[in-house]
């Protein structure tokens, strides 16, 4: 089933039933595709005693934990077809996820991102301020999540300006000049949540620099994990951005390197939305059954994009709650939800030390 039509459709224009009519056949086909083309994936489904020949619904498709991409090289393409390998930005020493992309999947990821993000930014390219340093793009061979994010979002901008120097210090002069040059224009600001907080908000707090980014739209992502230790809420994050530099429009997004492109954008009402490219299901950790609206559970993410690797149905390590379907006050159709954070690490008894020093 071709997903071409999705690139010409408003990504939030279908109600649940209409969406299911293409989403299930599409995901079913992807499942069969990976079953045939990825031997490890076939073994997994056989081990789970999944009936691949049945006409299963999209919510019956097995989900594989995202961390599986760290231990195993999972791909449904030949070595020769690999265009690039994306890696998650794990901290030093930790193993990283490896995601193998071919031309088709990579292209579809970019196209999906365009469709989703332009529905927030508009289709005209604006001057772009990136709250990061240019050095993050250095290693073009192994794409890090941060680098890939910046490159992916750069297509929405022109006259790109990096706000940070290589040592991650805010270059105030450069930012001021950029703003002066683009007075009266819409400005697209992009950055990773923690970078924006650590190297932009905190720096502006300290300085008496007055920036007017009133025409700016900030899109940020990467998770709130590090922010929790700074005890800053979403509201405070937005309030500070308004107070420090007049940014009114701030959109968080939820995405992962394992499903690049089909990201979940935060609407004006502060809710994250599934687009037509993807869907979420909240799973009850007790038995992996589907949790109803309002009940917290583990987030499963499904996406129509991953064709070169079996990542179309994933179990994340994030907890969240489905808030509703088709009835968000912002007017977008589809599921909307919120994320409460990472699942707590295990507190285990037993002889093998959970704390390994080093």
């Amino acid at each position: 089933m071709s997903i071409e039509f999705l690139f010409k459709t408003d990504p939030y224009s279908m109600g649940i039933e209409e969406k299911e009519s293409f989403f299930t056949p599409c995901l079913r086909e992807l499942t069969k595709h990976h079953y045939q083309n990825c031997n490890s994936y076939k073994k997994m489904l056989d081990g789970l005693q999944f009936e691949i020949k049945k006409d299963f619904q999209y919510n019956e498709i097995p989900f594989i934990p995202v961390r599986l991409f760290k231990n195993l090289d999972l791909r449904s393409i030949s070595k020769e077809e690999i265009l690039k390998t994306m890696t998650s930005s794990g901290t030093t020493g930790q193993s990283v996820s490896k995601i193998f992309l071919d031309k088709e999947t990579s292209l579809n990821q970019s196209k999906a991102l365009v469709v989703i993000v332009s529905s927030f930014l508009g289709s005209r390219r604006s001057p772009m301020l990136i709250i990061d340093s240019k050095s993050v793009l250095k290693d073009r061979n192994m794409f890090s999540a941060r680098g890939a994010g910046i490159l992916g979002f750069s297509i929405f901008g022109k006259k790109v300006c990096y706000a940070l120097d290589d040592d991650m210090s805010l270059n105030k002069e450069r930012v001021r000049q950029f703003i002066d040059e683009n007075k009266g224009k819409n400005i697209f600001i992009f950055g990773f949540t923690f970078m924006v907080y650590q190297h932009f908000i905190k720096e502006l707090r300290k300085s008496d620099l007055e920036l007017d980014l009133g025409m700016g739209v900030l899109i940020h992502g990467g998770g709130w994990k590090k922010m929790q230790s700074e005890s800053i809420t979403r509201e405070k994050f937005k309030d500070e951005l308004y107070e420090l530099c007049r940014i009114k429009s701030v959109h968080d997004y939820y995405g992962m390197v394992e499903q690049t492109g089909s990201i979940y954008m935060e609407c004006e009402k502060g809710n994250l939305h599934a687009s037509l490219f993807s869907d979420i299901i909240i799973r009850n950790p007790d038995d992996f059954s589907i949790s109803p609206i309002g009940q917290k559970g583990i987030i499963q993410t499904l996406s129509v994009l991953p064709k070169s690797y079996p990542g179309h149905s994933l179990l994340t390590e994030d907890e969240g709650t489905l808030l509703g379907e088709d009835d968000c006050a912002c007017g977008r159709l589809g599921k909307y939800f919120k994320i409460s954070g990472r699942i707590q690490e295990a507190e285990l008894r037993g002889c093998s030390d959970t704390y390994v020093e080093g």
């Binding site: 490890s40 073994k43 997994m44 056989d46 081990g47 789970l48 005693q49 594989i64 934990p65 961390r67 599986l68 231990n71 195993l72 950790p285 007790d286 038995d287 992996f288 583990i298 179990l315 390590e317 907890e319 699942i343 707590q344 690490e345 295990a346 507190e347 285990l348 008894r349 037993g350 002889c351 093998s352 030390d353 959970t354 704390y355 390994v356 020093e357 080093g358």
Partner: protein, 406 residues
């Protein structure tokens, strides 16, 4: 070099701990009267403590170190050999996530006549506090000073130099905590004659004779025992069975499985709560296993509390896929002999039901498994013994002075 005390904190000395002096304290003879009196006093304090009653592990320990038990051990040990002494200083590195292990480790070091430096668990466990408090209480009583001065309960920042310091003066280093900890601790040099007793990551399993099992009347008791063997420690103890091997006639095995797992599930449902991350761990472990060990099949269960994975063939790599919080691989073997070639050095405890001791002895002496250090009935895998993980602690922590006549 033995003076940098800022790196660590001694719990049972009031600011007058001198490591130099500590390291010069002579070893005593194993099972001497003083140490037995001391441990019996410790046992009394613990048994008289109301708080302690809430913790079965503390209760078991206090029972273990009472005088009558120690005297029994002494009798077994002595066998006419009177010229034994402790090795000197034992440095115990206790695991951070098992509360009472440090106490057993200390007991082994003390009873063999040694001075002991014990790194207590870094996590806050009430059990650790209860036992430490009892030791501190005894350290204030003059009559136990000979023993108290041979104990140093320490806490310190693992990033500091303390491990290096204590390693440099010890005669034996007991390392709990698995492969990762052992590798880290071993970066710290010891004197040439000193040695480690390392408790590495291990893999344990269970064998049930279905022909006997289906006839047995104590199914609930067996399941309760198996629950204690596994879930009580999140199936994360080195002694917790991971693999369940059934032996017997096909119909009996099928029936046995049904009775066994159903009765276990009831207990688990009532007494165990699964952490969300453990549910993901199980799925992750299974999918990794299935890629490597073909033919692994998940038996559909009610929920995530109890996962059963069937295999058609034993595989040498099974011990790389140890699960947590109720993840069991199952296999129907023709006989005990079939298991032996799969049993690697990593295998530690074999829990059994429906076999005689003689049968188990025969299994070991005729089939020569590379691993297995203890074979115990289901329900007793966690019971401590002075022979632990294949090491005879009493023998290892003492030395013999040979005296020849003419």
């Amino acid at each position: 070099m033995l003076k940098d005390e800022r790196d660590f904190r001694i719990l049972n000395f009031d600011g007058r701990f001198d490591l130099e002096e500590f390291s010069k304290t002579p070893a005593m003879s194993p099972f001497n009267d003083k140490v037995i009196e001391y441990l019996d006093a410790l046992s009394s304090i613990l048994r008289g403590n109301h708080e302690a009653k809430r913790f079965p592990d503390v209760a078991t320990f206090s029972f273990y170190c009472r005088k009558s038990n120690l005297l029994q051990m002494k009798e077994k040990f002595e066998n006419g050999r009177k010229t034994k002494l402790g090795r000197g200083i034992v440095f115990h590195v206790a695991p951070s996530n098992v509360p009472v292990n440090f106490a057993y480790s200390l007991l082994a070091g003390l009873i063999t006549g040694n001075s002991n430096i014990v790194r207590v668990p870094s996590k806050d466990f009430e059990q650790v506090e209860i036992i430490s408090d009892a030791i501190i209480q005894l350290s204030k009583q003059e009559c136990y000073s000979e023993i108290s001065k041979r104990i140093a309960l320490v806490t310190y920042d693992r990033k500091g130099e303390a491990t290096k310091l204590f390693s440099s003066i010890c005669d034996v280093r007991i390392i709990w905590g698995g492969d990762g900890t052992i590798e880290e601790i071993r970066k710290n040099k010891m004197p040439a004659r000193s040695f480690d007793i390392p408790f590495a990551d291990r893999y344990s399993f269970c064998v049930i004779n279905a022909d006997e099992y289906v006839l047995d009347k104590s199914h609930e008791k067996i399941s309760r025992g198996f629950f204690n063997d596994t879930y009580l420690m999140d199936q994360n103890a080195c002694t917790s069975p991971q693999l369940v091997i059934w032996i017997g006639e096909g119909g009996n095995v099928e029936l046995g499985k049904e009775i066994f797992w159903n009765s276990l599930y009831k207990i688990v449902k009532e007494h165990y709560e699964i952490q969300p991350i453990i549910a993901i761990d199980k799925l992750d472990n299974f999918l990794n296993q299935v890629v490597e060990i073909e033919g692994s099949r998940l038996i559909p269960g009610v929920d995530n509390l109890l996962w059963r994975i069937e295999i058609d063939k034993l595989n040498e790599r099974l011990d790389s896929f140890a699960g947590k919080g109720g993840y069991f691989v199952e296999y129907h073997a023709k006989n005990l002999g079939e298991i032996s070639s799969t049993v690697s050095r990593k295998y530690q405890t074999l829990a059994y039901f429906g076999f005689t001791e003689e049968k188990m002895e025969e299994f070991v002496s005729k089939t020569f498994p590379s691993g297995i250090d203890r074979i115990v009935p289901i329900g007793r895998t966690l019971d401590f013994s002075m022979i632990w993980d294949g090491f005879n602690l009493i023998e290892s922590l003492s030395r013999t002075v040979e005296i020849w006549g003419k």
